[in-house]
């Protein structure tokens, strides 16, 4: 998929190469609880991104010297499958994967009540099955859902989205081509109920004013993602609730009519 350098990423009508408007996110599909063995799991498709997250824990920690006396140790592995990118990527962890594993862990840690489970491990695995830009944000989004799915108590869900600058315009949710060909890319993770930014990185060049615009746009994106995440959690359990409501209605009716 070679891109001629001359081809523009955004046209004169501010329509992006994949047809989106400047502040439009890629379409998202999320499913929660799809893996049988993990304590919690979730899967996301965002544009061409396909990412899976799974949680094991809190569980006994091995090796023991990694145990923390006062809280659970959150361990995170962000990994890309060899077939996830255009040119096959070696399965060995790259420096980029090491860095992302760290910043993703640091993005999620503030949301978890790790202090409830000292000396245990909460192991988080993020597997990128197909990549098209913005994988660390999508990874954080499913990881947060996997943690909720595992029943691990959290302060908030963590919602992540990237914004940036491409061909002079401020845009939301950059795909791979926009990231590589644009002027700046800024992934951001946010706990919406606490106004807390837990991941922030940027590479590119932005003036002070542009920087503020991009941060604010990314926050807006995070708020949208938060709604999608909550919906994904709800739809897994809404059948439970609806069934319960039906039974209660029937019960109430029965009482009204004087039956037992």
């Amino acid at each position: 998929m070679s891109q001629k350098k001359a081809e523009k990423l955004i046209d004169e009508k501010d329509v992006r190469i994949d047809g989106r408007k400047l502040e439009e996110m890629r379409p998202i599909k999320i499913e929660v609880g799809i893996l049988g063995n993990a304590d919690g799991s979730a899967y996301i498709e965002q544009g061409k991104n396909k990412i899976l997250a799974a949680v094991y824990g809190p569980r006994e920690i091995h090796p023991k010297h990694q145990a923390l006396p006062d809280r659970a140790a959150l361990r995170c592995r962000y990994h890309m499958a060899p077939f996830s990118v255009q040119e096959r990527k070696s399965p060995a962890p790259s420096r980029r994967e090491q860095e992302l594993s760290k910043v993703i862990r640091e993005a999620l840690e503030p949301s978890i009540f790790t202090e409830y489970y000292p000396r245990t491990a909460i192991d988080l695995f993020i597997e990128v099955l197909q990549a098209d830009g913005g994988t660390r944000c999508a990874g954080i989004n499913v990881a947060s859902l996997a943690l909720a799915d595992a029943g691990i108590p959290m302060r908030d869900l963590v919602s992540a989205c990237a914004a940036g600058k491409v061909e002079g315009r401020i845009v939301l949710d950059l795909n791979d081509m926009e990231d590589k060909g644009g002027e700046a890319d800024m992934p951001l993770a946010y706990m919406p109920n606490h106004d807390a930014i837990t991941l922030l990185q940027m590479d590119g060049m932005l003036t002070g004013e542009e920087f503020e615009q991009v941060v604010n746009l990314a926050l807006e994106g995070c708020r949208q993602i938060n709604q999608v995440q909550k919906e994904a959690l709800r739809s897994k359990y809404v059948a439970v609730k609806e069934q319960g409501e039906k039974e209660e209605e029937a019960e109430a009716k029965g009482e009204e009519e004087g039956e037992e």
Partner: protein
């Protein structure tokens, strides 16, 4: 009235439930005067207390709990037991033998070996060490017969029922001996595999429909219907044997 949710509303972690004068109950936390949910579940409030019944959570040991565990390892002085919790539990030889433990003479694996299922009680547990078990009380010890099933720990109270109403009914209707572990494991042993299957079916029904009302009656009905046949057959077998 600073409550932001309706009864039985499905909430997710971080959802704002109430503000100020409320007591934060299970699966919630308080910060800056606001109360938020920590898990996915159904919102309830009773008097001044707001809480969330979690749709999924895991077992955390409490001193006094009866648990059903699986022996993972035999060590020099006891056993390491899996109780489906974030922490493995320890059973010391002194909490399993009625007399003092003699390292040279006592063969621990002959008492409990790897893979054995035990009914035990949690005697100690705090943040600084793994839970400690005992099997010395009445009703505790190795599970020798019957079957063991696993259910979500949050459903255990429902399986027990108000003052034991549900579990006692199941025991009566099926004639089974049932031990409930707070950690989501239940040991069922009956006079026949059919009786056991019946009891297990009832327990699974409770687990699935835990959130509904009128469950005790429906389970009783189901047991009686299915039980009619089986009871007849068992009576015939017993009279044949004697």
């Amino acid at each position: 009235m600073p409550i932001f949710c309706e009864r039985r509303q499905l909430v997710t972690p971080g959802d704002l439930l109430a503000e100020n004068d409320y007591i934060h109950g299970e699966n919630t936390y308080r910060e800056n005067g606001k109360i938020y949910a920590t898990r996915v579940g159904l919102f309830y409030n009773e008097d001044k207390r707001v809480y969330v019944v979690a749709l999924k959570s895991f077992y955390l040991p409490m001193v006094g709990d009866t648990v059903i565990g699986r022996v993972l390892e035999v060590t020099l002085g006891g056993w390491v037991v899996d109780i489906r919790a974030p922490y493995v539990a320890m059973l010391r030889a002194s909490d399993a033998l009625e007399r003092p433990f003699r390292a040279q003479k006592d063969d621990l694996p002959s008492l409990f070996d790897v893979g054995d299922m035990l009914i035990a009680k949690v005697v100690a547990y705090d943040r600084t060490r793994d839970p400690l078990l005992t099997v010395l009380d009445r009703g505790l010890g190795k599970v020798a017969r019957g079957q063991i099933i696993e259910i979500t720990p949050t459903k255990i109270p429902r399986v027990i029922g108000k003052q034991g109403s549900m579990i006692n009914m199941i025991k009566e209707e099926t004639g089974c001996h049932i031990v409930i572990g707070q950690n989501g494991r239940i040991a069922v042993s009956g006079k026949s595999p059919e009786d056991e299957s019946l009891a297990i079916m009832a327990i699974r029904k409770v687990e699935e429909e835990a959130h509904t009302t009128g469950l005790t009656d429906r389970v009783t009905e189901m047991l009686r219907e299915k039980g009619e046949k089986t009871k007849k057959e068992v009576k015939e077998d017993v009279s044949k044997e004697s």
